[in-house]
Symmetry: D2
Subunit: 402 residues, 4 copies
């Protein structure tokens, strides 16, 4: 259980921190300005492409992906790097080609894709040339229970015919998002966890309608392609577009979620660090009622509690990464749930307090806090609400005593 950063990690951290200081933080105001003035509200501002080029040249590219196609890092090596990218979550992850949902989609294609599928979609994704989306959540059912999914994928001859409605399909408003991984039911009469399959659906397939961008607390997240409502009406793709096997969709989704969740948690910790830094800077800089805000007991309590919570979260995430590396994602199931339960809730609270210290500025577009808050809050819902994970974790704990 050694969570220390090894030499490779330290070297990458050094390079990444330099990249943040030299390129990413200075790009934040540029990004904000470009975003405010964008003609196309659903594509990343031009500065992102510049950052991508620079990051790639510096070898800070695809670090999320284990194996030879990516950075070849373990989860434990990647964790502190992902944390750093979380400090500027709109810029750093896409700059490094390490942004969701592409990361999860690349993992799926890397692990389950055919050679043809990988050539067609994984290669341009790894090159950062196109974006992708993962179409699972549906507006009409509680999608935290994947067996509720209603989208139909019917085999007709050599084709799959897809009908259904999805929403909160992140990234899909971006015209450069070229490929969707769609989850649906191929066999509603099979066992509960064998009804679902995943198929690749190119964006330009007839019958695919990207209808509108969904909001998250007022944000459209246009810079990373928004969150689309997408309707699939008699969409036809060749059967070769199936990922893995028929009925394997649920298992692939589960396999995809483990790394996805830990990546989110890693970045959330970086977001919390950013919030604490902003909170401290503001508290030191402002005065009210005759003394700096930093001298107020309540603010000091918030800062201390934030520091103590962050330390605990980071250790739990590192342990989880280490477990995934050593006993596999399945063996780390409980810990993955634990970080998913603990991290978004704690980070939401930390960011909320940083907002409070900032007053009106905290909820404004002039500071990243309100947007960080919305991201943390949403992660208490995304990939399954907290309550589902708690129930599941408790069930396992209770089984020891039955």
């Amino acid at each position: 259980m050694d969570f220390g950063y090894d030499a490779r990690t330290e070297e990458l951290r050094r390079r990444l921190l330099a990249f943040m200081d030299e390129f990413v933080y200075p790009a934040e105001p540029v990004f904000a300005r470009q975003r405010a003035e964008a003609d196309d509200p659903w594509s990343p501002p031009p500065v992102v492409a510049e950052l991508k080029a620079e990051a790639r040249e510096r070898g800070l590219w695809n670090l999320f992906l284990p194996g030879e196609n990516g950075g070849g890092l373990t989860n434990l090596q990647y964790a502190p790097l992902a944390e750093i990218t979380g400090r500027s979550p709109h810029l750093a992850p896409p700059a490094l080609n390490c942004a969701a949902p592409d990361t999860g989609n690349m993992e799926v294609l890397n692990e389950f894709g055919t050679e043809e599928q990988r050539k067609a979609w994984l290669e341009p994704l790894l090159a950062g040339e196109i974006r992708s989306a993962f179409a699972m959540t549906e507006p009409d059912v509680a999608s935290s229970d994947a067996t509720n999914i209603e989208t139909r994928i019917e085999r007709v001859g050599d084709e799959y015919v897809i009908n259904g409605r999805k929403w909160y399909i992140s990234g899909a408003m971006n015209p450069n998002c070229r490929i969707f991984i769609v989850m649906g039911k191929t066999d509603p009469s099979a066992d509960r966890h064998r009804q679902q399959s995943m198929v690749l659906v190119p964006r330009d397939t007839p019958g695919v309608e990207v209808r509108r961008g969904m909001r998250v607390f007022g944000y459209d997240d246009g810079d990373h392609g928004g969150h689309a409502e997408v309707v699939f009406q008699d969409v036809r793709v060749p059967v070769t577009n199936l990922i893995g096997e028929e009925g394997g969709g649920f298992a692939i989704a589960q396999a995809r979620l483990g790394p996805g969740r830990i990546h989110h948690c890693m970045r959330l910790i970086g977001m919390a660090e950013r919030a604490v830094e902003l909170m401290c800077r503001r508290a030191v800089a402002r005065s009210a009622f005759g003394k700096p805000i930093a001298a107020q007991g309540v603010v000091r309590e918030w800062i201390a509690e934030a520091r103590v919570e962050i330390e605990q979260l980071r250790l739990l995430v590192l342990k989880t990464a280490w477990l995934m590396d050593t006993v596999g994602n399945r063996g780390a199931h409980t810990e993955i749930q634990a970080i998913k339960i603990a991290t978004p809730a704690a980070v939401q609270r930390i960011v909320d307090r940083a907002i409070q210290v900032h007053g009106a500025a905290g909820v404004s577009q002039d500071f990243p806090l309100a947007e960080l808050w919305a991201a943390a809050r949403t992660l208490r819902l995304a990939d399954g609400p907290d309550e589902v994970h708690k129930r599941s974790l408790a069930r396992r704990e209770l089984q020891r005593y039955v």
Copy 2:
């Protein structure tokens, strides 16, 4: 301490509830569509004007204003009506000409304005023909401490010359917002609470620059005129635009805040009721993991806690209204702080849980919850952050023992 609703209140409640059912709720989807398609993002959608006409005809107009110029209601009579408007906070308050910041501005003009000022500005405001703004908060200082305010109002001959920068000036993006009440310092060398004055500044005065709309968690609140950053550069107004006396600004601001805070709290309770209703409806309608969400113990706990909290909040607000009516706003100072401390925080928590029950829909534009949340959260900052009120209330409690 009789909080019962008297005959007049019951009669108005009946009429207001009918108006909500027949006009306001049906207008909500229209409003959303018009807002999404608006050419001018900073003006109320046309449906609001229709609602105003209807409300006025039904005698549901200016209910917030005591005395002969308004509805002539006591705070206790107005409280349950304001609560009802909070159930549709973007539509009902403006429909009844009872929306902030116009309400507070009309109160100020009604109480402290000269006959000339009332004729010029109060009359069209009471008629719902124009809107107004209250320019107090500044980006560069902790404005919860009003003595920090840096905007200068210098008398030069028969004019005041105004220089300063304000932000989060609600309503000021609306081109029909014609008049600003500006708070600034006329005499920085006077006693702490006698340095400030308020002057009327028409929107079209040279030197007034309405610079940009500030956001609140991604929302621009364009439909009620947004929250503007406004710069005043060598703005000149005649000395007759002074409200009250020189040095009286702080006192007027305090007088304005009491009713403002209780109105916010009344509406917040209506917002919480709306959230609970949505939470229950959703919990009944959706199923996950084989049973309705309403059968989950955690959801039931949330519903029960929400109900218990709302009951307590409502009673505290009613008591405060009753106190304001019987011993005056100054005598109700502690209670006004108490509701300001209790209500936004509790309603934020209730709405947050309603969001959680809705999953992704909860953070979306398809339900009012995320926007309600942002409003409740912001009221933990606006008109002084919770912590300032708590410190002040505790000081008074402690004084009994010194």
Copy 3:
């Protein structure tokens, strides 16, 4: 909905406050000393009898009991008086003959007892000559669900034969506790809520074994007769000892609980007021790190939050009392649950913070705080745990939407 204190209430409050100042508070150290030195750990120290005599002479006697046998007060009239007694919960309630469980038992006898039963037991109870106990909770089942109760009451000829084990039978260790109201099943095959009956069992009946005093966080509560484990083995009483009718036990228990719960909540509010007073006094008197504890922001936050919570709790309790007076206990069912949910939890938190301000003194026997805390904490369990009440209240809320 008039919660104001009427003339009779004000007059009684005045007299009760004088009694507290002149007799009860001065008796507290005497009581502590007598308790520490007691030969019989299970009887009230002698000073209690003196207080009883004084209170009775002053007309502060049996105020809890409506009707001609008691003080003849409404719940709304009694509420502020019970609150005052809560400020010294070990002395004032017994001094006024208003202490649980006698109060509930007297209510039961008053309402459901035969003339003979009332003569035998109600009269000496009303005179404060004997004490009584209510034997419902059992160690072997979750007694929050009264249908779980396992004690058997079998009719054999003209007698009931009782077998079962009870615990946390408050007051029963006191040798002067002469009569038990025992809840058990007369007909396990009847409908769920018609299986139970209540019988009167004199303490000296053969087969009654008062086995040991149960503790509450280390306290034996000996001064009010402790909390006994009692075993009933082939205990025989005449059938005339039945209270009400066979199968009516559940309904009588429910009828008993309403007033019992509101009395607890009233007193809890007085306990919270006592805690706030102690917290403020200590914060003013002590210094650490160069300034009074009262100057620390966190302590001020606690004091403010306590004040705001207490105001809300008191209003909710008063409303509930008013409802019980106007629509009856059954009509006030939701509100009774609401105060049971809200009050112990909030008071526990308030007392906990008062303890924290006191440091080691807070957990000691030199201040009443630790004992107040244990009482508040236990009331989150007693008469049904919070969670049971929340579930039930939520079910009713949800029914509106089904």
Copy 4:
């Protein structure tokens, strides 16, 4: 940062777990019975001596003490062992001669004592023959600020003359507690942190009056010698009883606190594990309203949250232990504060919920929960209240930004 258990730790864990199963848990009911029937309420029941003999024979002895005099373990090695002893906190720590305050006192004597002092007091303590006390806290001042301490230690010739009043001197009611380490001021005019010294005061020195046992939420903790109020009146000891140097008392106290705090936190984690186990067992075994308590959503949420919190606490404690081992106690200062802030509060909450699941049994003497709760709660005060540690930790965090 390797927190894994090495071979020695694993071997000791194995032996300790066997000792717990074979001796400690079976001794718990014996201990409870002996405690209830004890003639001397202030000495450990006889079963403790039996456990000590067994533990010593098994090499489970003085494990807390680094170096050749003790177990020779690092903090990281000791942590998981101390955690296990926390599962039975009244029996296991004294059985292993690893109970506070002896542990801290032995550390002080080991590190700062003269050869003579060590021979006289350290040797019998290491042998488990006598007990000791640490007399620092005073009733009359906020002792969390050690500079407040008022006890005087005046040098008169070859003697120190001690006058002062202490309380909550743990273990001092035990007649076998033979030696007190007393903290007082030798030079009130020196620098704030150089005024204090520590001297050894044998219990039987004239002028030492062990006055009474202080309570902790009703518990007298008699089995580990209680918490005494002790008065020192003109107590004279030879100057050779000084520990370290004059003016060095504050520094020694600080040195003593680091290990003391981490040991408390380690044991608290074991206490939390015990509470979770009891909570799960009860939830599985009991039914209410037609289903096992374990099926209730709220209880499942509690279990999950407990598990997630415990995992985080353990990791933070292990990291702190590792830091103390690698960079020293001073270098681990922030982390020691962090665990002191995080652990008692979280464990208190976990135990509170376990109590709630148990109903009345939870607050009784039949389960260890209420006593565990009191211990956890008290540790939010002991060794400095949470708020002091938070303020200090925040100050350091803020210093980065000044």
